[in-house]
């Protein structure tokens, strides 16, 4: 589904990603862990198409297409979704209006008819129920005045509405209390199927107690220095990152 080869990226002439290789297949859940400043969020931003980042080398292929040639909205149309680490507040645009516009723009991109108001509201209610989202939040301005937890849940709710092929969760778990974390994780587990894939970027092993990854990768200084199964996450939790770094140097 997603194939990243030798990806190098920089911002303001500062190299952040220094040769990433990653292969994600449909039905898989990948976790990327790593210390602060290792390039985790940069990778997420580059995948979503944030223009401040410049790709200097390498390629990203998504479902057979060169992702780097696509605008952010086209990537979303192809099925890429980024749950933001810091969701943006947009005063004056309700969550409902925002999601209806997004969903119908994606449908247009995919050559599907737009959903009418009735169909849309039915879907909205269905997904809100799955994620235990209070429907009154939908009528409020997008993320405005939402608590940290509400914002993160709203990201997962948007993911549920847009049904992406590849969802990238950029530190969705940070700042969540244990109940919110459980709801977010349950959401992911309910949405997971053989046709989609997840890339979970996190600092902590904690979320991986609830979402079982197929692969865990350690990102350090812009490169993946170790990959393994879910047991790697536990090992990192126990021993920290230093041993992986030492191993990589050796």
């Amino acid at each position: 589904m997603l194939s990243i080869e030798n990806l190098h990226a920089q911002i303001d002439n500062k190299a952040i990603l220094k040769g990433i290789n990653l292969e994600i297949k449909a039905g898989e859940i990948h976790a990327i862990m790593g210390p602060n400043g290792s390039g985790k969020s940069t990778l997420a931003s580059v995948l979503a198409g944030k223009e401040q980042y410049e790709v200097t080398e390498g390629s990203i292929t998504f479902l057979g297409k060169n992702l780097l040639e696509l605008a952010p909205e086209e990537r979303a149309g192809e099925g890429i979704f980024l749950a933001f680490q810091h969701p943006i507040e947009i005063p004056g645009v309700t969550t409902t209006n925002f999601l209806k516009t997004a969903l119908n723009e994606i449908r247009k991109y995919q050559g599907l008819d737009p959903l009418d108001a009735v169909q849309f509201l039915k879907l909205l209610k269905e997904k809100a129920k799955i994620l235990q989202i209070d429907e009154s939040l939908m009528k409020r301005s997008l993320n405005e005045g939402f608590s940290g937890g509400e914002k993160k849940r709203n990201e997962i709710f948007q993911m549920a509405m847009l049904e992406p092929r590849l969802a990238i969760l950029d530190e969705t778990d940070s700042g969540l209390d244990i109940d919110a974390l459980r709801i977010v994780a349950e959401g992911v587990n309910k949405l997971k199927n053989s046709q989609n894939a997840f890339l979970i970027i996190t600092h902590f092993q904690r979320i991986l107690d609830y979402i079982q990854p197929d692969f865990v990768h350690v990102l350090y200084d812009g490169k993946i220095i170790k990959s393994g199964g879910k047991e790697l996450a536990l090992e990192l939790e126990e021993k920290g990152y230093d041993w992986v770094k030492a191993e990589a140097v050796a």
Binding site: A76, F84, I90, E105
Partner: protein, 415 residues
């Protein structure tokens, strides 16, 4: 400089009037003052960012009656409302549709009947104000509207101001909102889409008595290169409420002076503005909330979206006089520049002589939120659609303050 400004006012000398009485004395006085005033230039503090140097180069002719059919300009959404129609300053009496409770006269008729005595020029002063002096020296068009005591007008009154051709004209209005009355006035400024420049000076003096509520709107959407110098001078008495919402969408150079003299206690004053302009449109808002008595409340919010080569000016003054204790006065000006070539000059001014007051003001200017744009695009929304959503959200805060649904709908469709 004196030469050119003299030329400009000479356009209007054919309007010289040989009547006698209060209004004529006022004209004479204004004319004398005008001789000593020059057309404002950018050295004048209040005109620093609004250059009028091209005004004198325009070949304006004094407006004559035209055969333009005003019906072509009528807005469907507002057709159920009352109506007053002006074309190039000329009142179209056969189009007037008003409830029987109000007293409505053309300026000339009102002058004849002595209705303007002691009112005209009583709050719009001619000293040191070129356009007030000019308008007063030659005023002969406009209207007198009196909403009698305790009457509640069931529907808004729409005043059409239609401009056609390269003409210059002056308009002068008096509105009397008597004790306890309720009314809404919608002013629509429209022009045919030819390339002519025209010039309009309009002054409205609005008197709001005790307990009266007057809700006013100006929709400025002239599809031409009109110069419009508009002064709305308001006097509010105890327990009265006045709201003005100004929506400026098109025109050449627009200067709006909105001055509210709060002469009573427990008054409420609302000033809302939305400018959304492009091309080379220049929109200048000068506002004043002058708190002269205690216990009143004023709230002002002006927002601006400036695209292409447009320019915005906002100068908002709040005065809280020594007697005006317990005043609550708020002012906000928020602007978004949509193009690198657009500019905004903003100057909020707060002057307080009383000590027990709550006042705040602030101004912000920025670009459309890039982070919000990326967030929306990452959700599949095209850049154009994302910009539109953000613009509508920005404008929405003012549009929501329009209390007449039909008007709100009309304005939303213009944006």
């Amino acid at each position: 400089m004196t030469e050119t400004s003299k030329d400009f006012k000479d356009i209007f000398t054919p309007l010289k009037n040989s009547a006698s009485g209060y209004v004529q004395n006022l004209r004479q006085k204004a004319l004398a003052q005008l001789q000593n005033l020059e057309l404002p230039n950018t050295k004048h503090e209040e005109w620093k960012y609004t250059p009028l140097k091209n005004l004198v180069k325009e070949p304006f002719a004094l407006a004559q009656p035209t055969d333009l059919n005003p019906k072509d300009f009528f807005v469907n959404n507002l057709e159920n409302f009352y109506k007053i129609v002006f074309v190039n300053g000329f009142l179209q009496e056969n189009q007037t549709l008003l409830p029987s409770q109000v007293e409505f006269l053309s300026f000339q008729e009102a002058e004849k009947q002595g209705k303007l005595d002691n009112l005209l020029g009583s709050i719009a002063k001619t000293e040191n104000d070129y356009f007030n002096a000019l308008n007063t020296a030659f005023c002969d068009k406009g209207f007198y509207l009196r909403i009698p005591k305790n009457t509640k007008i069931d529907k808004p009154i729409v005043v059409y101001h239609i401009v056609s051709g390269g003409f210059a004209f002056l308009q002068r209005n008096i509105v009397l909102a008597e004790t306890g009355c309720r009314a809404s006035l919608i002013n629509l400024y429209l022009a045919d889409s030819n390339v002519f420049s025209s010039f309009t000076s309009e002054i409205s003096e609005i008197f709001i008595s005790e307990n009266a509520h007057l809700d006013c709107y100006k929709i400025q959407n002239e599809k031409n290169q009109n110069y419009r110098i508009d002064t709305t001078q308001v006097e509010q008495k105890t327990y009265s409420k006045f709201a003005m919402t100004t929506i400026s969408l098109d025109g050449g150079l627009i200067r709006n002076n909105l001055n509210v003299l709060i002469e009573g206690e427990h008054c409420e004053t609302y000033m809302n503005g939305l400018s959304y302009v492009k091309n080379k449109t220049h929109i200048d808002h000068h506002t004043l909330a002058d708190h002269r008595k205690p216990n009143s409340y004023s709230n002002e919010l002006y927002k601006g979206l400036f695209d292409e080569n447009s320019t915005g000016v906002f100068n908002g003054k709040i005065y809280v006089r020594q007697d005006a204790q317990k005043t609550n006065a708020y002012q906000q000006n928020r602007n978004v520049l949509l193009s690198d070539k657009a500019s905004i000059y903003t100057k909020p001014q707060l002057e307080i002589w009383a000590d027990d007051v709550k006042c705040s003001h602030g101004a912000t200017t920025g670009k459309l939120d890039e982070a919000a744009l990326f967030y929306m695009r990452a959700r599949g929304i095209s850049e154009a659609e994302a910009r539109k959503l953000l613009l509508r959200a920005f404008a929405g805060e003012i549009l929501e303050r329009i209390e007449i649904e039909e008007l709100k709908e009309y304005v939303k469709n213009l944006i």
